[in-house]
């Protein structure tokens, strides 16, 4: 794999910076059985969160317009995509979530900067994420499902201790520099032991 990378970058050098990204065709919807009219927010690297959220929130909060929204993003926009979904979950509440990860194939067309008509296409795979947020219940058996108002299914056994742990950590500044962290961790574990049997 490293070898092919090297070849590619060498090629691209002579082709100059005229790369043009094209989507990898029409990637199929990661959520089969989803109604056709569902709003899909395509989050890009340069998208402003306030623009995305302004639009998506208006649609979600409108009475009859929408009961679900999909946020998708790839590459460096993945973090922003998650942030959008997290903000919406916090603001709207009671949303069922389904998260899907996959590789997306991006076709890049590189034009030669020597003026010749030669073109080169490069297929790259970038990780992408799709997050479905729905007011209606989703299939809990499907991998990637997250019920409303919980940290996550992965943390089921700890979810009860979460609020208490949070308050423990908001201590006044100055008392606890970094040296205090192993102590904090221990505290957290103790609390867990106490609350688990309840």
């Amino acid at each position: 794999q490293p070898r092919s990378d090297k070849v590619k970058s060498k090629c691209l050098e002579s082709y100059g910076g005229r790369g043009q990204k094209c989507g990898g065709g029409d990637s199929p919807c990661p959520f089969p059985g989803l109604a056709a009219g569902v709003l899909e927010m395509r989050v890009k690297e340069g998208s402003k969160i306030r623009n995305l959220m302004g639009f998506a929130m208006a649609r979600m909060q409108g009475e009859k317009t929408g009961s679900a929204v999909v946020f998708t993003g790839s590459g460096r926009a993945v973090t922003k995509t998650i942030t959008c979904a997290e903000i919406m979950k916090r603001k709207v509440g009671c949303l069922h979530q389904m998260t899907k990860l996959r590789y997306k194939v991006v076709k890049e067309v590189w034009e030669s900067n020597q003026g010749a008509a030669s073109e080169m296409t490069v297929h790259r795979t970038v990780p992408s994420i799709s997050i479905l947020l729905s007011k209606d219940p989703l299939d809990p058996q499907e991998p990637g499902y997250q019920p409303p108002e919980t940290l996550s299914a992965l943390w089921e056994d700890r979810a009860g201790t979460e609020p208490s742990a949070q308050t423990t950590y908001k201590r006044p500044l100055g008392q606890l520099p970094y040296s205090g962290f192993p102590h904090c961790k221990k505290l957290c574990l103790e609390e867990e032991d106490q609350t688990n049997p309840a």
Partner: protein, 151 residues
């Protein structure tokens, strides 16, 4: 984005007054007097099959560690966690694991918000600056990588 995830090493920009004026969060404090210290994220639940991905360790080393847990470690499932910038790497690791298993592995991703705390410490203890804390949120991902139970 370019800020190193390194507690205690980064400081408030001092020579750029226009920048601090324009950002609403920094209005009430004097940029000269405070050092911004980022605390480590709180609570790290750590089972044997939890892997916390960071941006300092070599990618291949982290991938190999996950692979080893699944192959030799005898775990049917592992949990890959990523926070902030490391979300991308966590996803990459999970997808790589899945690809190299020829479809035997499945992924179940969950997202969450993690509250982070910054300490603002006065540079000069003689000045009347109060130490402050500021909380902010960052996104995180938790990916369960598992062999589905035969049904």
């Amino acid at each position: 984005m370019t800020e190193p995830r390194n507690p205690g090493m980064s400081s408030v920009p001092q020579s750029n007054p226009s920048h601090t004026e324009s950002s609403s969060q920094a209005v009430e404090m004097d940029p000269v007097e405070y050092t911004l210290r980022k605390r480590l994220p709180r609570k790290l639940p750590k089972r044997r099959n939890d892997v916390y991905v960071n941006m300092k360790t070599d990618f291949r080393a982290q991938l190999a560690r996950c692979q080893k847990l699944l192959d030799g470690g005898g775990h049917r499932e592992i949990c890959v966690h990523g926070l902030g910038l490391a979300i991308n790497r966590a996803i990459n690791i999970a997808l790589q694991l899945q690809a190299s298993s020829q479809g035997a592995l499945q992924l179940a991703a969950n997202t969450s918000t993690v509250e982070l705390i910054d300490d603002l410490e006065p540079e000069d203890p003689d000045e009347a600056g109060e130490p402050m804390t500021r909380t902010r949120n960052n996104s995180a991902i938790h990916i369960k990588v598992f062999y589905p139970d035969p049904q």
